[in-house]
């Protein structure tokens, strides 16, 4: 035998799971939604996505290499790629590119790296960047191109109202007839509505969800608790007052699906235990409904998730897993 024997403590085998497997798994799950956004928003979507992804990767590499001077580069772990994709998903397809680059710098440089890089950030980088851009560039961030225009449109795309702004207007004026202008639920599911690039097709996102669940990348706790909470809360409101949109429309519109499936489930910023994840999901759902109905913005998903992110350490502190033998101990 030529080798030296290796000694280490047990366990001596590993499941084979890795950060890369999980991160690239999420990227694959994002593909259907990405293709949908290309299909519905054309060239603009491609340009914005490429810019976002490339600038996120660049900033990750640049900061690690030149500011933190780390030896190991983290660019290949896939987390910057996800941030880039998710950031693009949260933008309208006609946004100027320099704003995308600014958003990417904020996401990677401020939200992720200042806290210590992967695993240390308090907030979801893509969402924090979206909130930053929404406040910095309110006009560009809220003019949504209409889906399904000719393929080569970018900044010249026609813009229009999203279902959510219609819902908001109806709820404010108390005029239920405005809701009749909403597209049908089937259209919203497949993707015939305006809005951010990633939220155009709920169906594509659900395909991604099924993929991630089947590979064990995430569990059902967070997405399901968010969707069920929103459905129940808006359902009650709809029954009480028909001027509020129906729950089916609510869960299919805006960034809810995108947020529930891809944003809220971010490992780093979501709670560790299943119980904590359920609390986190319900909190996001309720906050979303409150912001959508009573807040200044038509969409509340991103702010709801960011607020819940801030509470994650607290939830981790109080939602301990059920200890083995704890129940028996108290019985006696």
């Amino acid at each position: 035998m030529t080798n030296k024997l290796i000694v280490s403590l047990s366990p001596h085998i590993h499941s084979g799971d890795s950060i890369q497997r999980n991160m690239y798994g999420v990227c694959i799950a994002l593909l259907p939604a990405l293709l949908c956004s290309f299909y519905f928003f054309g060239l603009g979507a491609v340009v914005v996505t490429l810019t976002s992804v490339l600038s996120c990767l660049f900033f990750e590499w640049f900061i690690n290499r030149f500011l933190l001077r780390k030896q190991e580069l983290t660019i290949s772990d896939g987390s910057a790629l996800i941030t880039g994709l998710l950031l693009a998903f949260n933008l309208p397809s006609n946004i100027p590119l320099w704003m995308v680059v600014t958003g990417a710098l904020f996401a990677i440089g401020v939200v992720k790296m200042t806290f210590g890089g992967l695993g240390c950030n308090l907030f979801n980088p893509a969402l924090a960047a979206r909130a930053f851009m929404l406040i910095s560039f309110p006009v560009e961030m809220t003019t949504w191109p209409v889906a399904g225009q000719s393929w080569a449109t970018y900044t010249d795309a026609q813009t229009g109202a999203t279902p959510l702004s219609l819902i908001k207007e109806a709820a404010k004026s108390g005029d239920a007839s405005l809701l009749d202008q909403l597209p049908s639920a089937i259209d919203m599911l497949v993707g015939q509505t305006g809005g951010c690039m990633g939220e155009v097709s709920a169906l594509a996102i659900l395909i991604g969800l099924i993929y991630m669940l089947s590979r064990g990348i995430i569990t059902w706790h967070i997405p399901l608790s968010i969707i069920v909470t929103v459905f129940a809360a808006t359902g009650i409101m709809h029954i009480a007052n028909p001027a509020f949109a129906s729950p089916v429309v609510e869960i299919l519109s805006g960034g809810l699906m995108l947020g529930a499936v891809f944003m809220a489930t971010d490992y780093v910023t979501s709670p560790m235990t299943h119980k904590g994840q359920l609390i986190y999901g319900v909190a996001i759902g309720l906050l979303t409904v409150v912001i959508r109905t009573f807040g200044a913005y038509p969409e509340g998903m991103s702010f709801a998730i960011l607020i819940a992110n801030a509470f994650t350490p607290l939830i981790n502190n109080y939602c301990k897993p059920k200890r083995f033998g704890a129940a028996e101990g108290s019985k006696k």
């Binding site: 030296k4 024997l5 290796i6 000694v7 280490s8 403590l9």
Partner: protein
């Protein structure tokens, strides 16, 4: 104008009332602190290293005051400040200064660097001496020596320790304050706080291997094999050999250096002379004597 006056009046009266409440509360719940505590605290270095054996300088100060009440500062020592600080504390408390004149520092008792000990296996776990210690005897055949993952270096608040890949753990005599953090960090007990001369030197057996001669010899090029040559040579009776391992009592050692020259294994060294040559010069006469 009226509005201004009203506002000034209301706020002024409210301020007066609240101020008097504050004053009364302050008087009522005042914590009486021994004034000597502050004096002692001012003298202490404030490093909070815990080297004195108490958790931080505040605790040390209150121990000093307690000891002063009992009549003697005997047994208390701030290793960072040494005699100078203990004198000042005694002065502040109106006590006679005691002890603390012995200079201490941490001494590494293993010279088992990579060049001295052949690597027999590979450790593939957390880069921590404590973990490596419970995993196995280590990467070499010596179950007593330095593991080399730097737990002691990480624990030193004063930057006195460093690891040299050629020479192992080095302790900087100028920076070491003998706080003892490294002693606690080392799972193999290789670092000892020793009394040294005022210019921080002394003789040390740089080995802790208790194996029998042959095993110790095979494990490391500079291991103590318990041959007792140094014990026989020492004129002041400072060296004892127990469990196949020599130990030098600093109180009796006269620093004559005879043990260093007689040691066939190049194990005994003067603190501060770190350079152990990669090629060990074999002392011919002793080698012959052994045979």
């Amino acid at each position: 104008m009226d509005t201004i006056l009203q506002a000034v009046g209301v706020l002024g009266i409210a301020g007066m009332v609240l101020a008097s409440v504050l004053y009364l509360v302050l008087r009522k719940f005042a914590v009486k602190e021994d004034p000597r505590l502050a004096k002692v605290n001012a003298v202490l270095p404030g490093a909070n290293c815990g080297g004195c054996g108490f958790p931080g300088c505040d605790a040390m100060a209150s121990e000093c005051v307690k000891a002063a009440d009992k009549g003697s500062l005997e047994g208390l020592l701030c290793p960072v400040g040494g005699k100078a600080v203990m004198d000042k504390i005694a002065d502040a408390l109106g006590m006679e200064s005691v002890g603390g004149d012995a200079v201490r520092m941490a001494v590494m008792r293993c010279d088992g660097s990579c060049t001295n000990r052949p690597q027999l296996r590979e450790y593939d776990g957390a880069q921590s001496c404590r973990v490596a210690h419970i995993t196995s005897m280590g990467e070499t055949a010596c179950a007593y020596g330095c593991l080399g993952y730097g737990d002691c270096v990480a624990k030193c608040e004063f930057g006195a320790l460093s690891i040299d890949p050629e020479k192992g753990v080095l302790i900087d005599p100028d920076r070491c304050v003998a706080c003892g953090a490294c002693v606690k960090a080392c799972p193999r007990g290789l670092i000892e706080i020793r009394v040294v001369t005022p210019d921080k030197t002394g003789m040390v057996v740089k080995c802790r291997n208790k194996d029998k001669g042959v095993a110790a010899k095979n494990a490391c090029a500079v291991s103590c094999i318990g041959c007792r040559l140094c014990e026989k040579k020492c004129e002041s009776g400072a060296i004892t050999v127990e469990d196949n391992l020599a130990y030098i009592d600093a109180a009796k050692c006269t620093l004559c250096g005879k043990c260093e020259t007689v040691c066939p294994r190049n194990t005994i060294h003067k603190i501060g002379e770190w350079e152990t040559p990669a090629e060990q010069p074999v002392k011919e006469e002793i080698k012959n004597e052994e045979q």
